[in-house]
Each structure stands twice: as C-alpha cells, then as structure tokens.
C-alpha cells in the first residue's frame, strides 16, 4: 500500500483562532476514507490546505509525496475537488460551468467520451444544464461540482460534505458514483458529519474534533470501541436474573422492553445467558458510529464547557 495523502501535526491559525491543532491524517491508495467531525472541527480547513488554497501554519502535509502548497497546480492534474459550499458563476449556465471546469482539468481531450460521461451524469443526477447559475439551489450548485468531478477521471477525489444539499435519492446516486470510482482504483477522501454516509461508503475513518484527530481506523476497529445494544420484552419475573448478567451496561427497563448495552467483544458471552432466560422479541443492534461520535464529543464537551465558564 502506498500512502497517497498524509498530514502530520498539521496546524492552522487564523489570527488568534486555532483552526487545526496538530491534525494527523493518512490515506492509502485505493481506499475510501471518511473524514468525520462536527461543524467547525477543521474539516474544510484541512481540505483547503491539502488543495494548496491555504497554507499550514505548522506540521507537514503531502499529497502523492509532494507539497500541496508549492506543487498545487501539478498536483491538481491528479485531483478532483468538490467544495462544501459550491459557488458557481451566476451568468453561466450549469452546463457551461461543468464544461469549463472539465476543460481546465484537461478531461475533455476525448470529446465524444466526455460528452457521453457528462450526459450520463446529468441524467443520473437529474440536472438541467441549461439554467443560469444564479437560479440554481444549493443542491444544484453542488451537482455542478459533482458532475464536473465525476466526468473527468482522477487519482484522488476530495469531497467536502458532498451531499449536504442533496436529497436522499441523489445521495444514493452519489454513493453509486463513489463506488464506481473506488472500483476503478481511485482514492477518495470524504469529509462529513453524517455518519450513515460514511458508514455506507468508507473503508477507514478518521474522526476529528477541535482541529485534532481523536480516532482513526477501519470501521471494524472503531466498532470495538463501541457497545452493541441488546433489547427484548420485559418479564418482571426474570428482572433479577437480567440484572445479574455480567458485563452489561446502561440497563433500562421502559415501555415493556429491557435495554442494555454490551461491549462489542462481549456479545458472544452474553448470548447464552439470554438463551437461558428464554427472552422474547430479542434484537441485537450493531454499534453505530453515532454512539462513537456521541461518546467522543459527549466526554470531551464537559471539560471544555467548564473551561469556558471559568
């Protein structure tokens, strides 16, 4: 595996505000990497540094082993980028903007093939390229950048919250396209604060908060850090037996159901106990990143708030 993108101890200050505070990120060739964090965590700043639109105040970033600031234009031949909040030219049509961006990226040398790709994508994303830019909604402006990105092959795709303006149907289209480029061997870095999106698409995930990487790994690895939720119908006669099961957390009996969580690697140990109790209506929900997310932010918010009050 070769590392396509790496950032070590990346820092970025805007005046006295610290946007990035020692961020680490590593993306291997061919992987779809989720870049998760709440709004304001520094996702966009990171992407802008990786793209050479902003310069890091400290730390090191490389793309394909090169410096994204000094070699920006060279690197951009291999990169497709979709900003988080896409602006397009108000007096150009969507089709004109897509053509312009594709031509600037040099993706239109085979005219017929390009036209076919563009038409396919316009159809897939249900996009009318004949309207003026000023009349497009946020979602449609997003589509302009997405179509331009997908219409020209790239080695690395950088998406900044790509689906924030898209409806669920279009989100599926987006997922399908990401699958396609991943199959073709491209590398993808996808920033998002929507967990389901990342869960559906990504092989590996980095979670950042307040400009720092707090967690990084494959989805399976991260799931070890979370707990599986178990629930079944409540039977008052067995309540004592349930509370005695070893290794359970957050026990809650509510509206006729028993719920608790189990460390994900302890699920197998708990199941025989449940079988012995002959529980009814058993559900075992896999751990979601949502929990991981909440735990990370939930835990660290408290001291931060205390600090703010002090």
């Amino acid at each position: 595996m070769t590392t396509v993108l790496s950032a070590r101890g990346l820092q970025k200050r805007f005046g006295r505000t610290i946007a990035l505070d020692g961020l680490d990120l590593s993306v291997e060739a061919g992987e779809v990497h989720g870049f998760l964090g709440p709004n304001g965590a520094g996702k966009t700043t990171t992407l802008r540094i990786l793209l050479g639109l902003a310069r890091a105040s400290g730390g090191e970033a490389t793309l394909f082993g090169r410096d994204p600031w000094t070699d920006a234009a060279e690197l951009h031949r291999r990169i497709a980028y979709v900003p988080g909040d896409v602006s397009i030219w108000p007096n150009f049509t969507g089709g004109e903007a897509i053509d312009l961006l594709s031509r600037l990226r040099g993706g239109t040398s085979d005219k017929a093939a390009y036209r076919a790709r563009k038409e396919r994508l316009c159809e897939a994303f249900q996009f009318d390229p004949r309207k003026k830019g000023r009349s497009y909604s946020k979602g449609n402006r997003q589509k302009v950048a997405l179509i331009a990105a997908f219409a020209t092959p790239a080695e690395l795709y950088l998406f900044d919250e790509p689906t924030s303006g898209l409806d669920p149907l279009m989100e599926q289209m987006f997922n399908r396209e990401v699958d396609r480029i991943a199959r073709d061997g491209s590398t993808v870095l996808l920033s998002s604060h929507i967990l389901s999106e990342v869960e559906a698409l990504c092989d590996r995930v980095s979670i950042i908060r307040a400009g720092k990487t707090v967690e990084s790994g494959t989805l399976a690895e991260l799931r070890h850090l979370t707990r599986t939720e178990v629930s079944f119908a409540h039977d008052p006669a067995r309540e004592a037996a349930v509370t005695a099961i070893p290794g359970i957390h957050d026990l809650l009996i509510d509206s006729g159901r028993v719920r608790f969580t189990v460390d994900s690697d302890q699920v197998a140990a708990v199941l025989p106990e449940l079988a012995r109790l002959e529980v009814q209506g058993l559900t075992v929900a896999p751990p979601s990143l949502e929990d991981l997310f909440l735990r990370h932010y939930g835990e660290e918010l408290a001291p931060a708030e205390a600090e703010a009050r002090a």
């Binding site: 639109l53 902003a54 234009a73 900003p83 053509d99 600037l104 309207k131 003026k132």
Partner: protein, 540 residues
C-alpha cells in the same frame, strides 16, 4: 424593538462607513470647490466673462448648470449643483439596490422574510433609510455652503433640491430592483438613469434661451424630464422657490407606490424581467482560465467602451462648434485658453480635455477588471478554478493581461470615434494625429490604476473594491477638475491623470507617461509574483 426599527438599524449600521464617506466626501467637494471658485472667479468681471463664454459655446453648460446671474450663491449653484446632484443620485440608487435586490439575490432576504419582518417591511425600511441618507446629505451640503459664507435660505434650498432629487433616484433604484433579477442589472439601469437625468438637464441648459445680458438662461423642455432639472428650477439664492420640487417628490411617491404594489404580488427572488434558458455546453472561449477571465470582463468592457466612444465622438465633433464660437467672439478664445492653461489651439485643448475623460473611463474599466478578480475570490468561484491545474500566479497574471487588453480597446475605440467625429472639423488632417496621440497618452495612467488594484488584491484582498474605486474616483476629481477648480498643486499632483502627457501646442512632454508606465508595470508584476505566497482569502 419592533422589526422595523431592527431592520432600519441594521441598514444604518451596515452603511455607516460607506454613507459617511459618501456624504462627507460630497459635502467636502462642495466646500472645497466653492472656495476654489472664489479664488478663480472672485471678480464680477471674471464671472461675466465665463458666463458669456459658457452661454456662447453652450456645450459647457452641459457639464455645469443653468446660468442665473453672477451673485456668489447663484454662480456657485450654476457651477456645482448638477455635480452634487449626480453624486447624491448615485448614492441613492446604489443604496436602494444594495438593500433590496442584492439581498434577495444572495439569499439573505429569504432569511429575513421568514421572520416576523416579512417580505414588505425590509423595503419600507430601505425607503426610510434612503430618505434619511438624502436628508443628511442635503443638510451637510447646506452646512458646507454656509461655511463658505453663503446665505442661509439659499443654502437650505440647495440642500433641499439635492435631497429631493435624491428621493427620485432612490425610488428609481427601488423600481429597478423590482424589474431585474440581478443586482448588477438593477445597478446598471439605475446608473444609466442617473446619467440620463444629468444629461437631459444638460441638454435643457445647452438648448435653453439666453437672456440679453448673457447672464441667465431659461432651460429648454428636456430639463423638465430630469429630477436634477427641477432642482435647478428652484433658483437657489435668487428665486429660492421650492415649488418645482413637488414634481420629483410626486414622481418618487408614485414610483414607491408602484414598487410596493410589485413587491406585494411577486414571489421572493422573482423579477418582472425573467431570464431565459441558456446553452447546455460551453462555447470555445470557456476553454481556458484566460478565456474565463476574458469572458467575465466582456460586459464591463462593453459598457466602458460605449462611454469612451461617446466621449471621443464629442471631443472632435464639438471642437468645431467651439472653434466657430471662438472665431465669432475673440474674448471666448482667450477665456478658454486661460481655463485650460495651455497655449494650444482650441481644438487641441478640447481634444486633450475630452481624452482626459476617456483616460478616466479606461482606468475605471481596468480597475473593474482587478475588482472582478477579487469578486471571483470572494464569491468562491476562484476556489473552483484554483482547484484545477491553474497556478495562482498564472491566474492573476491572466487578469493583468485582460486588464491591459481592456485598456487598449477602450482607448482605441475612443480614438476611432474621435477620428470619425473629426470629419466635421475645419481641419480634420491635423486633428487625427492629435487624437491618436491624446488617446495613447492615457495608457500609462490606466496601467498605474490596474497595477494598484492588483497590488491591493494581492496584499489586502478585502480592501480591493473600496481602494480601487476610491483611488480612481479621487484621482479623477483631482486630475480633471482640480486644475479648473484651482486645487493646490500638490493635491493635483497626487493624481496619475495629472501626469498623463498632453499632446497640445507642438512639443509634447512624454516623461510623466514613461514614469507611470514603469510604475504601473512594476506594481502589476509585484502583485502577480506575490500570489506565490498568497492564500485564497474568501468572503468578507
């Protein structure tokens, strides 16, 4: 606080610096100009003479006003009123569009409309805000006039005339904002309306009937079509009659009524003049970042070129008229020469003055190209382009090249128009090389402004628009009106336009032009090279 007061306060807060500069600047212009007028035309005889010249040549009246005697106040009113009304008019239309269509276009109006403020109240707040701004402008102008020792009643009549003509332009700006879908479209038509109002009253004055003593003119009917014309009918310091102001006041009231009627029936974001579907593929121009920079600036280029062609045409076609007048009355020739400060022939001097204006137009166009780069950056579209394999340096270099091409085109168009207009002159053969030299002489100053704008863009991106326009505006006032208004020499020398070579009277001194060429090119080169270290500065 009620939603209305919140909206009004937000408008005042947002505009406080801009309007303060505009209002104080205009009042200061009034104050400084009048002091200069007294220095130059302190003697009754001087005033009699210049009024006689103006009435004899007529065209000068287009750029001045209605002669109404030689008293201190009336003479100042003749020289200055239309200019001040022009400033107030532009202030008002920009204000109107800024708080209505621009808000709507950028989607902010939608957030406001979703609050209890609703769709209509923001327009009401804009009307009140604009009315207040014009009242303050009128008051400050009146104060500036009185500070020069002019009498109180006349000064307030003058201030009232400025404010009321401002109301009319405010109403038109609001109306245009209803018609057009974009703030650019609305601003464009509004500026055209203000300039047309200025020109109509100018034609009314020029075509008016002079009195026997050549000290008064009764304007012709075109003045009745212009809010500024009605301002002049007040005859400040002489008749002091406020009743003519009822007409622009009524015009403003009716138009504001129409605006509210339109606003209440149309959808948020919609306009009376809708856009039509465009092409689905890009043309060959949009194949490169240079093509993009060019395409983004073509509409700018067209409008400034139109102005330059008109000015160039006037320069040579009018010069024959002036020549005629000068032959009829030798005193006219003498006075004109003194005003221009050159031993040139009348035609040469006329060409020099008009191509000075062409130079200002070309410089404005170049500044706007630099500003367009900033707009691309602030709007976020530069990010898309710089996300493709376009180096930052090359991106700005292309704007520099487009800016230079644009200057050359504006000047060349004006030169061609001047040559076309020379056909009517008494001596076209001698006028043609004069026109070509006068047009070429403007190039260095224009390059200075292009370089300056790009330099600000590179080092203080958020100040690009303000500094660009302020610099070219101030320099235009100092350079073209400074000598006539007898500003101090050091102030005039601050303006690059004052250093443009003047091809008149045989020998032409090109050294100022060469220096400015060097400075302009150096500034542009530094700006472009600075992009190596420059981050993208979006927003703000």
């Amino acid at each position: 606080m009620t939603p209305f007061l919140v909206l009004l306060r937000q408008r005042i807060r947002r505009d406080r610096l801009q309007l303060a500069l505009w209002i104080l600047g205009t009042a200061l212009l009034a104050y400084a100009s009048i002091s200069a007028v007294y220095d130059t035309y302190g003697e009754e005889q001087d005033r009699r003479e210049i009024l006689g010249v103006a009435i004899a040549t007529r065209t000068i009246l287009i750029f001045r006003g209605t002669p109404n005697g030689i008293s201190d106040g009336a003479f100042a009113f003749f020289l200055l009123f239309a200019w001040l009304a022009l400033m107030g008019g532009l202030m008002s239309t920009f204000l109107a569009v800024r708080h209505t269509r621009q808000e709507e276009e950028q989607g902010r109006a939608e957030s406001i409309a979703a609050t209890p403020a609703g769709r209509i109240l923001p327009t009401t707040a804009t009307v009140v805000h604009g009315v207040l701004a014009n009242l303050v402008l009128g008051l400050f102008i009146a104060l500036a006039l009185m500070a020069n020792g002019l009498e109180v009643v006349g000064s307030f009549v003058w201030g009232a005339a400025i404010a009321v003509s401002g109301f009319a332009f405010l109403a038109f700006g609001l109306f245009a904002a209803q018609l057009f879908r974009t703030s650019r479209g609305a601003n464009g038509i509004s500026v055209a309306f203000v300039l047309a109002a200025y020109l109509l009253r100018g034609i009314g004055d020029a075509a008016g009937t002079p009195s026997e003593d050549l000290l008064h003119v009764t304007p012709a009917w075109p003045s009745w079509l212009s809010p500024m014309g009605y301002g002049q009918f007040t005859g400040a310091y002489v008749e002091n009659d406020l009743t003519p102001l009822l007409i622009p006041l009524a015009f403003a009231a009716v138009l504001v009524g129409v605006v509210f009627a339109l606003q209440s029936v149309r959808d948020q974001g919609a306009s009376l003049l809708a856009g039509r579907p465009g092409r689905s593929t890009a043309g060959p121009v949009l194949s490169s970042s240079f093509g993009l920079a060019w395409r983004l600036n073509t509409s700018i280029l067209l409008s400034w070129t139109a102005g330059a062609v008109a000015t160039g045409l006037l320069a040579t076609s009018l010069s024959s008229v002036v020549n005629q007048a000068a032959t009829d009355t030798p005193a006219v020739l003498e006075t004109l020469r003194r005003a221009i400060g050159s031993e040139a022939s009348i035609e040469e001097a006329f060409v020099a003055v008009f191509y000075g204006i062409v130079g200002v137009l070309a410089a404005c166009c170049a500044v706007q190209v630099g500003i367009r780069a900033r707009q691309e950056e602030a709007h976020g579209t530069a990010e898309l382009v710089l996300g493709t394999p376009i180096p930052r340096i090359r991106w700005l270099l292309e704007y520099w090249i487009v800016g230079t091409i644009v200057i050359v085109i504006v000047l060349a168009a004006a030169a061609l128009a001047g040559i076309a207009g020379a056909g009517a002159a008494s001596d076209p053969e001698s006028l043609v090389p004069n026109v070509l030299e006068a047009a070429a002489a403007q190039l260095p100053a224009c390059l200075v402004f292009l370089g300056l704008t790009l330099l600000v863009f590179a080092f203080l991106p958020r100040a690009t628009i303000t500094v660009g326009w302020t610099a070219v505006g101030l320099a235009a006032i100092l350079g073209t009106f400074g000598p006539i208004l007898q500003f101090p020499e050091w102030a005039i020398d601050l303006s690059p336009f004052a250093h443009s070579p003047v091809p008149a009277g045989g020998e032409t001194d090109w050294s100022g032009g060469i220096w400015m060429l060097v400075i302009g090119l150096a500034a542009g080169a530094v700006a472009v090279l600075a992009m190596r270290r420059r981050e993208l500065a979006s927003g703000g």
